[in-house]
Amino acid sequence: MQEILFLIPALPLMGFLILSLAGRHLSKQVIAVVGAGVVCIAAITTIWLGINFLQTPQENGAYTVTLWRWMNVANFSCSFSLRVDALSLVFLFVITFVGALIHIYSAGFMKQDRDYARFFASMNLFVCAMLILVMADNLVLLYLGWEGVGLCSYLLIGFWYETTANVQAANKAFYITRIGDTAMAIGLFLLFRELGTLDIPAIQNAAPEHFTKSSPLITSIALLLLAGGMGKSAQVPLQTWLPDAMAGPSPVSALIHAATMVTAGVYLVARMHAVFQLSPLAMNITATVGAVTLLIAGCSAMVQTDIKRILAYSTISQVGYMFLALGVGAWSAGVFHFFTHAFFKALLFLAAGAVIESLHHEHGIFKMGGLKNKLPIVFYTFLAGAAALAALPLVTAGFFSKDQILWYAWSANGGSPMLWFVALAGAFITAFYTTRLMLVVFWGDVKTHIGEPPGRLMTWPLIILAVLSIVAGFIEWPHNMLHVTLFSDVVQKVLPAVTEKEGVPSESIFQLIAVVVTLLGIYTGYLLYKKNASIVAKWKLVSALVGLRNFFFSGWRFDQFYHTLFVRPFVFVTSLNKQDVIDKIYAGIVSMFQWLNGIFSVSQNGSMRTYVISVLIGIIFILALQFFL
């Protein structure tokens, strides 16, 4: 069984090679069949593999296969080897399955585009890189996938490269994630220096013995790895690239910037849980980063007017929840939220893409409206996604995963009332902005001419994802309601179970509060954007509120801050030294010699008179010396 492991990343790679080398000579139909086909086959292979894996558990809990030896120098060796355990399997499933749906959707969405082949080539390469990332057996191979997804993200954000702003957004994404990547690379060097290996299972085994708990060393390793994760997963303070990344086509946003790549950081932290567990400080920082991010991004999402930017900020915020869960030690809850989030956020982005496409590339939500009856399929699927995002109790997947996180934010060992409160505030904010988005886009009057409704290639993926956004949560129920823990049973073969604190009030009270707060958020949205719109109009007259709104709108001014602090000084210094100051030294030496040459050549001017005079002066000088000495 494990021999076919390599097929899963190899299939999309094959698609990439075919499309990038021969894509220009193929018809659009062939391109779509190849591009989407390889991912679909990969998805089927994954499901088959997953069923086998669950039916016949492996001795060491993983399928492994070594393809070839990559490097072997001195005491360092690493191979191209793949490894699939329960954690990787969850990610594999989401990447290939959601990826396949997004590819099918794209076949319809991008059909007018000139660079159809380039689009599918990049998407396939992305899927391949992401699969390598989660299947890697050692951290170097993981880093390969890690950088590979960065590249594809760059290629796809800047897909419509003739607009400068898109290219700049792509560059920004690459630069900022690269900062995180570099920190992660240093983390790898440190890990290697200490343990002499970068194989993931070996690290898991050796770390607890080698490092003393909460030593500065292990904390620095964990924090460096975390920095890498924060870059890719757009956590504060490295989050600013994600909203701009919406410059890419909508399927890209769905696949890369919502469902899979931005959760790479979550995967890394979960994968390296043995390291993180040794450093309570790093765990606390992880949780705090998550909490701060979910709040900051949530506030920004409340006031955005571009439909994709709302979803982008909401993604940052939801990934913040995952980091929070990981940080408090609720490993499985964090991964579970990744699982459900992938469905509903991909759905929301795809549905948003369908809306934008039908409205002739209109992004502003206040220019939309009244789409409820005009685009019924999009409306109902979007509704399912939005309900899951808002965590509507019991009927949506988002509720089950987010409820767990809220509960553990207090009750888990690393949790605290403060973290819980922030997460709760986040739940309110999420419910509010989701309601606002729904009401403004789908209710009210039609403001823009509605073009063609999306075709079947686009609606079917929406419907499947909508169903999953509702039912995916049922595999894991809160402990006090129903004893169904299918998800954590699988994942906890790899990840440690959560340890709870003593003397926490009953879980039901927390659930009740969470439900009330969520409903309150929805009601507030309803009140402000449907029932009584005059409140918002009144607020617009208060300058303090407008200032706050602009502050949130600009993403808490992080961009401006970085611009003045880093970008402008950097550009200034480099352009100042464009001519290379060191070269001036050599130029100085040259001019000195030219100057000396000018002086001495006066003595060689060919005039007999000066020669005679200088001879005479010389004689007089020598004679004078004779006299005076």
Partner: protein, 483 residues
């Protein structure tokens, strides 16, 4: 003897080019191509024979040849190759072939003399990589200098005279210091042992006073770091690179710079081990300065060839840092960096040359949106841009990763500083990509995408850089046999 033939083929091939071009100007390039291909074939044969076999520790030197040259001064014609030389020779003839191919259309005037210079430069370079007699080494060091000077001076761009002089003076100044050092080593060794010899193995046994060792080593070091180049001795490089014809830039970046690194590994480290250990920290520091300074300079440039030239400064900083970390991992990384930088930067220069042929400018502010009319070239450029910023799968990643991992064990602070090079390399690489291939289309005329000949050049380079990224062990095994 086969090693001597390598050089003779190039030297006589060069003469032949010059002579036949008087009657048949078109023949010169074919002769040149045959000459380098013949050498490449010889080397591939050697590689197949010895590439795997030596590992087991049967001996350090795969092939050796020694004959007296000027016996009265103890000068012999002593050449030999080990794994390191073999890899570098392979690189030399690989890039040499491509250099001939990319001059195919570019060089129209005095083609015979051009190919004469090209082949003689290559001969000098391969001589440097095989010479084991210090006098012979110096001889080849000069042989590669003069024809290169002529290549820039005659076939260069507008400001070629300035660039050629600068290149010559910098290199020559270093070369003379090295000659002084060679002579002092020769006399000290002669006085100690009674037999005066320039031979590498004899000189290895020289006992030197620490102070003397330091000064003599500095003579070698300065010659080598000027070639490398190390900041602040780099300023000849941007001028020489940007003014040289495409093949000239390719050879400069791909091979000439590597002779500096080779010199340090082959001569400085074994001959003056203790003195080298003593300056290790400083050398690493200068390497790191080079990484960062080169990257910052590259970011500011608007001339595409100058930009690439400064990226070389940055990348060669890794080499210097890696060598003086004195860790095996880092050293393997250095060899990988030498090879992969030769290929990736060479490819970027080839691309820049192709762009210049089409647009007649090197100014990136006049470019933009070239992807639209030349998607194939854009794709290749993207590949090598990514190689230059160290993306895994491509060879440069292996090199930089191993270097940094090795130096981390030697010095944490300097390694962390060097790692910022990864961020800076992204800054300048993506800026270049954006200005040239992405963004709004600026040029109205229809540009032709790459031709079949260009396709061969670029495809070979692309395959090479990917294979090096996926199977670096092939190279490392050969070099490992050095031990």
């Amino acid at each position: 003897m086969i090693l001597v033939w390598l050089i003779i083929v190039l030297l006589s091939g060069g003469m032949l080019c010059w002579i036949t071009a008087r009657w048949r100007p078109m023949a010169a390039k074919w002769i040149a191509l045959c000459a380098v291909l013949a050498d490449l074939a010889i080397l591939l044969n050697i590689w197949l024979q010895y590439g795997k076999g030596v590992q087991a520790g049967t001996g350090t030197w795969m092939i050796q040849y020694q004959t007296a040259w000027i016996p009265s001064f103890g000068i012999s014609f002593h050449v030999a190759i080990d794994g390191l030389s073999l890899i570098l020779l392979l690189l030399t003839f690989f890039l040499g072939t491509l250099a001939v191919l990319c001059s195919w259309k570019e060089i129209k005037s005095r083609a015979g003399f051009y190919y004469f210079n090209l082949l003689w430069t290559l001969a000098g370079i391969s001589g440097v990589f095989v010479a084991l007699d210090l006098f012979l080494f110096y001889f080849f060091w000069e042989v590669m200098l003069v024809p290169m000077y002529l290549l820039i001076l005659i076939w260069g761009d507008k400001n070629r005279r300035y660039a050629a002089y600068k290149f010559f003076i910098f290199t020559q100044a270093g070369g003379l210091l090295m000659l002084l050092s060679i002579l002092s080593l020769y006399f000290i060794h002669g006085a100690q042992s009674g037999s005066y010899s320039y031979d590498y193995f004899s000189l290895l046994n020289t006992q030197l006073e620490p102070a003397a060792a330091k000064w003599i080593m500095m003579g070698f070091m300065i010659a080598f770091v000027i070639k490398l180049p190390m900041v602040p001795f780099h300023s000849w490089l941007p001028d020489a690179h940007s003014e040289a014809p495409t093949a000239g830039s390719l050879i400069l970046a791909g091979l000439l710079l590597k002779t500096g690194a080779y010199g340090i590994i082959r001569f400085v480290l074994p001959l003056f081990h203790q003195a080298a250990v003593d300056i290790a920290w400083w050398a690493m520091l200068f390497g790191v300065i080079g990484i960062i300074y080169g990257a910052l300079m590259a970011f500011a440039q608007t001339d595409i060839k100058r930009l690439i030239a400064y990226t070389s400064v940055s990348h060669m900083g890794f080499v210097l840092t890696g060598i003086f970390a004195f860790r095996e991992i880092a050293m393997q990384g250095v060899v990988m960096q030498i090879v992969t930088h030769g290929i990736s930067t060479g490819a970027l220069f080839v691309l820049a040359g192709m762009i210049k042929e089409r647009l007649h400018t090197r100014d990136i502010s006049q470019m933009g949106g070239l992807w639209t009319s030349m998607p194939a070239m854009g794709g290749v450029a993207m590949l090598f841009t990514m190689a230059s910023l160290g993306l895994p799968v491509l060879g440069n990643f292996i090199a930089e990763f191993l270097i940094l991992m090795g130096t981390f064990q030697a010095n944490v602070l300097l390694t962390v500083l060097a790692s910022t090079g990864l961020v800076f390399s992204a800054l300048y690489s993506l800026r270049m990509m954006q200005k040239v291939f992405l963004g709004p289309v600026t040029s109205g005329e229809k540009l032709t995408d790459i031709t079949a000949r260009e396709m061969i050049i670029l495809a070979t380079l692309s395959i090479a850089i990917i294979l090096l990224g996926l199977y670096p062990q092939t190279v490392m095994d050969v070099v490992l046999s050095k031990k």
